[in-house]
Point group: C2
């Protein structure tokens, strides 16, 4: 495959790690990145190392999309350059330029882009769909990938599908660990069956050293607890989040989560949304996974047997590894579709073998 | 997805079961099938049930591609219609017509076909590539899928890639259980890693009741034993095959098989061919799998960990279920690529998220 020139919107935990992973991928060339205050563009390829140093203090998805200082001296910060406020992040990089409209600045370069990763978790529901609309308005022909886990965003993207198709956009929604990686695994595991009875997705995340970089994800998870939703979780202060974590002694269990996995598997025709169960255990005080992340697919074979296929992630694969690898993997697959002229809104499972 | 009109070449075990599975898939409409002596075509959809009854005695891949009578009264034959010789198979169906060139007869209908499944195991190495060439010569624009497990066929298809691209063919090679399903699983499992150290594919097959339908597969497996190769295995008589099975008391273990899995994973950029190990245990005297089919992928994550992801097939999924489901799953994925104008020769792992 020819080199894929791509941009990253957002340089919090997910955005930065994606840039880092892309340096290990021959076919991926990051050429633009932005955060709330600045943009960096180099069509010959960004200096990722310099950019990562400059944005080290950024925290993704703290609820504002803004960059802010680390609140502690956690291990990941050691030796790094802490940045904060309006001088934080990309504007502190030699490659960065201050701008009032960083996303607009990336859109201006979009004719040179094959793909854009939207690493902007936990903002308003229609934030990503509106950004997709802006790219389409500008006539962008290429791939957009997000790593959200919210069912309703998919519907909002579907509402814009005509506009996206007209422009030539291939949008992959939810391409991170969950729902992306694990619904992909479920779609593949389903291939033994003519009818899928149940899909059970159960994840374990140990996030001690990655906690500061992944506050947005923790906040988004809290929204799935009884008594919380996206709106209440977004409005919680950092102290309130900490209080919830303390209440649970750092280990929070989730059952029957309303996650996009169910919608995405139904969309791919694998099973009904109601046959999908999602749960998990998050431990923010240990790097060990509290449980092994497992996808279990039970179904009926054409020859009348009932069986269960399973996919297990090794306990030493971090959440970050399971977000960034699949996000870039689906991005690559989407570029192939896009270059062939296959446009529209896709769930990750729709890019797998058909059911 | 719109209805996919497809044909099956070969009505042995794999071809017949694929027709059977397709009746449970809404978007798949089988409209043509052929064996050595006949062809059945109905653009409104074949009567699969009638065709299956008529071809019940067929045996796939007995080494000649011909149909022949069952040699015993095995359970699967009970109540079926045994067919043999030149009056066997499709010509015995009400939908069938005798023809000296059944594949040519399907090619004549190819402008009405979205996809063709080549269920013709164990013939000469260049048999499938030559058929692909015939479709391309006729200007076929659509999908071709085979379920072979032979590395060298892929090279032969690559040699014809220009011709296939010019015609508009999307060819997926090796889309059955192995290498198709299991290399797909390996490619997905690799997504946690930036470097894959090893892929271990270990399969178990219990084939008592399916033995008669799958002699071609058994023969192909024997070719992987020490002292045998494709040529010697193809020339073995049924008695010689039985003798090998008796020698092993019906349970044959395979280690370090030369299988297409390694080539296909290298082709998809997942790892070097030499990092892939394939082995398995075949038990033709029990329907229980002697070992659980497992794909194990070990790699290095971007954050410096080493871990192992695993994919396991439930022991009650038969070989047939794990061949037919993925073959049709990849066929569907390939039709999406083909309709968008993405032509050429693909291994199954290349249709997965990119590595």
């Amino acid at each position: 495959m020819d080199t894929i020139h791509f941009a990253v919107l957002g340089t919090g935990g997910i955005g930065r790690r994606t840039l880092e992973v892309s340096t290990e991928k021959e076919t991926l060339e990051p050429v633009a990145a932005c955060d709330r205050h600045g943009v960096a563009v180099d069509h010959d390829g960004l200096d990722v190392s310099e950019l990562l140093d400059a944005t080290e203090g950024n925290i993704a998805g703290d609820g504002t999309g803004d960059t802010e200082a680390r609140t502690d001296g956690g291990t990941a910060v050691e030796g790094g350059v802490k940045q904060h406020g309006a001088d934080a992040g990309i504007v502190a990089s030699e490659q960065g330029e201050r701008t009032a409209d960083p996303i607009g600045a990336v859109i201006e370069e979009s004719e040179h882009l094959d793909a854009v990763l939207l690493a902007l978790p936990n903002l308003e529901h229609d934030f990503i769909p509106r950004i997709a609309g802006r790219f389409a308005d500008a006539g962008y022909e290429g791939v957009l990938v997000d790593v959200l886990k919210r069912s309703r965003v998919i519907g909002m993207l579907d509402d814009r599908e005509n506009q996206l198709v007209e422009s030539g956009v291939t949008f992959v929604c939810g391409a991170g660990a969950t729902p992306g990686f694990l619904t992909g695994a479920a779609a593949l595991a389903a291939q033994s069956f003519v009818e899928v009875e149940s899909v059970d997705i159960h994840w374990g995340v140990g996030l001690k050293s990655g906690y500061e970089d992944n506050r947005g994800t923790v906040r988004e998870d809290i929204a799935h607890l009884d008594g919380y939703d996206m709106e209440t979780a977004r409005e919680m202060s950092a102290e309130e989040i900490e209080a919830v974590i303390d209440e649970h002694d750092g280990v929070i269990e989730f059952e029957d989560m309303e996650h996009a996995d169910d919608v995405l598997l139904e969309r791919a025709g694998v099973c009904d949304a109601e046959d999908v169960t999602v749960g998990g255990v998050l431990d923010v005080r240990s790097d060990e996974k509290p449980v092994t992340t497992t996808v279990t697919v039970t179904g009926r074979t054409f020859d009348g047997e009932r069986a269960t296929n399973t996919f297990e992630l090794g306990d030493d694969t971090s959440m970050a590894a399971n977000v960034n690898g699949p996000a870039l993997g689906y991005l690559k697959a989407a570029v192939r579709h896009n270059r062939a002229g296959d446009y529209g809104v896709f769930g990750p499972a729709e890019l797998m073998p058909g059911f």
